[in-house]
Symmetry: C2
Subunit: 450 residues, 2 copies
């Protein structure tokens, strides 16, 4: 039997995402023997050639093997396509040609603005491309998926007319990161954690997504969305859901997604602080009087039995003093009877997503030569144990799409619940902050978040 | 006001312990500014001079500072004294001379065989040395303190006629080790540990005291006592008590000792395996047909609410494949619903007393690129964090004696409870084992203890 081949069709192939993430992701998959027989079709409205397409990704590929790069070039095609004007006849005939050669499975990757999701989907349908005879067709949508509950619902309704929910992969690349995929494994394979994973023992949970750079080429996009919709609605709420959801029945299929959706149903934002770095409104693609936030800090709460009363803190921002993504679980301080030897803080479990991927646990231990306690870190450094070549976000997610495993993609109800949370944000004053700082200097959270 | 000086009187000054541990301990105390005004009097029946006494310790002192070594020589005296024959008049007049110079406090250190404890104590009393006018007198007894409950009781009764229990320091140098002193701090300053520190969450507890050397110069002594009385009755039961006792009201005074004594009351040995290494009976000072064990492995249980049903395993032996002292708390495996991803073992907390002092926690984490779990170690390396010059056992204990803190010394009831446990040991067959091996090859425990 002939191995069934795979075609990656990338809409928005000349964009930043394709260059930085998608091509490198496919390259890594190839390098780790995750795919063999495949073809890439890039499509966008600008002129471009396939060699340039691959070359522009080169600097984002870590282990460059000339043989693999040349294989990538050989198996890539480019199609100039104005999604609004052109019909998809050329794409159709190209796909039919490949189908005859045994490339029957198709991944349609929507690396475009969400304003193009509907038109492309409709044209895919109209052209008959989706009438697959033997293989499967799966569609992948990049965030943002809508800009509020209403627009997200509208978009979903439209897509669900064209695709089956089983075909739809709403991607959140954070869910493909090893340390994020690790969260459920750590939570549910370590018996010692379950008894203390609740409001009786946890003081607070902090999720941090600090960036030390600005909006790059994403001016117009970013100015429409801002920090809250760019990273909190998706990445950070997903991290929160993984950290706090109840135990799923299995790690695959819909179990995890059901537990996450259920958790998100009970999340409420209590307070929001927003900020904008100095000079933002003078940047390319930004409205001169823009009130878009480039920083947000929040406190949230989860109204269920496990988490009632445990404050959740979020912080996300551009141009802060460092680039760091981490989750901190701070346990309550012990009720200490011992003068002098009482620890100054509770235990902390830290999951570092970037940089220095790993997990550390802060325990109080004896100060040598004295009978008092000092907090020390017990560390698990991911790359020290498993080596530096851990699969990255997109590669892991491509693997899941090929397998047909939707568990690491956002289901409609999760998405709706996230937007319901975010729709209720109450924005107060927009605080200015200096580039390279720790964000706006407000009292709120200054002493709480590390 | 003049600072009150301290005299260390060491009975058994020509012995191994003085050379290896006591002089180096005093040196370290001096080096870390733990004492300033002090004088040492060595006493034993053999001829010896004070310079030789210090010099013989040199190789057991880590950071040799010539200035301190010469200070040590200047402040040391030696007295030839046959404890059975001589009266203590010379010692008395020397102490009176020093007292006039401001050395009023006295530590009498019994580094002799326990057969000399009574006679020395009686002579101390008879000579009037203990009638201290201004300072304090404290007496320190090295193990073994008796050889069973009966002899230990007899000895205690005799000593208590002469000394107050507040003056008596029954030393177990394990209790002075940083990582051992750390046990209570770790247990009671980390809120996350208390909820899982019980039979609901702990699978078993293992205490290992492996040695890769033999009986050295201790032939006659060792042959009388054997592994069980040499290390299990004292060190290992003490470690067990610290790991499993209830929370004391404070770290000082009698609180810890009361909790340890109470715990030991409920300990019972379930099974004992003994072994003797090949060639033991041909060694110096050993009876040719000796049945003394140089290896013992045991399972024990604690009959209280917290520990009922949790097996405790001990292993101790001479001439095994490595020198290692550690405690392993193995947590129960999780009730795992997930095929493939279920961890193969429970979490483990390991307290390493020697070598590589530290604590590690084994957690199950995600295998990169696969959705299954791999155990990884999160480590706290004591010397990496606190540097290599951590005070050692004897130094810490000397400090406590000087402070008058008895909490790290064995109280009479703890001692009695330990002997009660050990008196009930049922010895079966004495298994032979090869030097450098893992001990006798019996089924029992082979698969349990690491």
């Amino acid at each position: 039997m002939k191995e069934s081949g795979l075609v990656f069709i990338i809409f928005g192939a000349t964009g930043d995402l394709t260059k930085r993430k998608l091509i490198p992701g496919i390259y890594n998959l190839l390098n780790h023997n995750g795919i063999k027989k495949f073809h890439i079709i890039g499509a966008a409205k600008d002129p471009m050639n396939k060699d340039k397409l691959i070359d522009s990704s080169k600097k984002f590929i870590k282990t460059k093997k000339p043989k693999l790069l040349s294989k990538l070039k050989k198996t890539t095609g480019y199609l100039q396509l104005d999604f609004n004007k052109s019909e998809f006849t050329k794409l159709k005939s190209e796909l039919e040609r490949l189908e005859k050669k045994g490339f029957q499975n198709k991944i349609f990757y929507f690396a475009t603005g969400s304003n193009n999701f509907e038109i492309i989907s409709e044209k895919l349908k109209k052209s008959g491309i989706l009438k697959n005879k033997s293989g499967w067709s799966r569609v992948v949508f990049e965030k943002p998926f809508g800009s509020d509950l209403k627009s997200s619902d509208k978009l979903n309704k439209c897509l669900q007319k064209i695709f089956d929910e089983k075909q739809i992969y709403r991607i959140d690349h954070y869910l493909g990161k090893e340390l994020v995929e690790n969260i459920s494994i750590v939570r549910f394979s370590n018996a010692m954690l379950e008894p203390i994973w609740n409001n009786k023992h946890i003081e607070n949970i902090q999720i941090i997504l600090d960036e030390d750079f600005g909006i790059k080429e994403r001016g117009p996009f970013y100015d429409t969305y801002g920090a809250i919709k760019d990273v909190i609605q998706n990445h950070m709420l997903q991290l929160l859901a993984l950290i706090t959801m109840e135990m799923p029945d299995s790690f695959s299929g819909d179990s995890v997604r059901s537990k996450k959706a259920k958790l998100l149903q009970n999340v409420k934002i209590k307070k929001t602080i927003t900020g904008q770095y100095d000079g933002y409104t003078r940047e390319k693609g930004i409205a001169r009087k823009s009130k878009t936030e480039t920083f947000a800090a929040m406190s949230l709460e989860i109204n269920n039995k496990r988490w009632k009363g445990v404050p959740i803190y979020f912080r996300a921002g551009k141009y802060l003093d460092k680039k760091e993504t981490k989750i901190i679980i701070r346990f309550k301080k012990i009720k200490c009877l011992f003068e002098n030897t009482c620890p100054t803080k509770g235990n902390e479990l830290e999951i570092r997503i970037f940089p220095n991927e790993g997990i550390s646990l802060e325990l109080n231990t004896k100060t040598p030569g004295e009978s008092k306690s000092t907090p020390i870190k017990m560390d698990f450094c991911h790359s020290c144990v498993f080596g530096p070549n851990t699969p990255e976000g997109y590669e892991n997610l491509f693997k899941d799409i090929i397998k047909g495993d939707q568990s690491t993609f956002i289901r409609e109800d999760e998405l709706r619940n996230s937007w319901k949370i975010i729709d209720k944000v109450k924005r107060g004053k927009l605080h200015k902050y200096k580039k390279g700082s720790k964000g706006p200097e407000t009292k709120f959270m200054r002493n709480i978040i590390k």
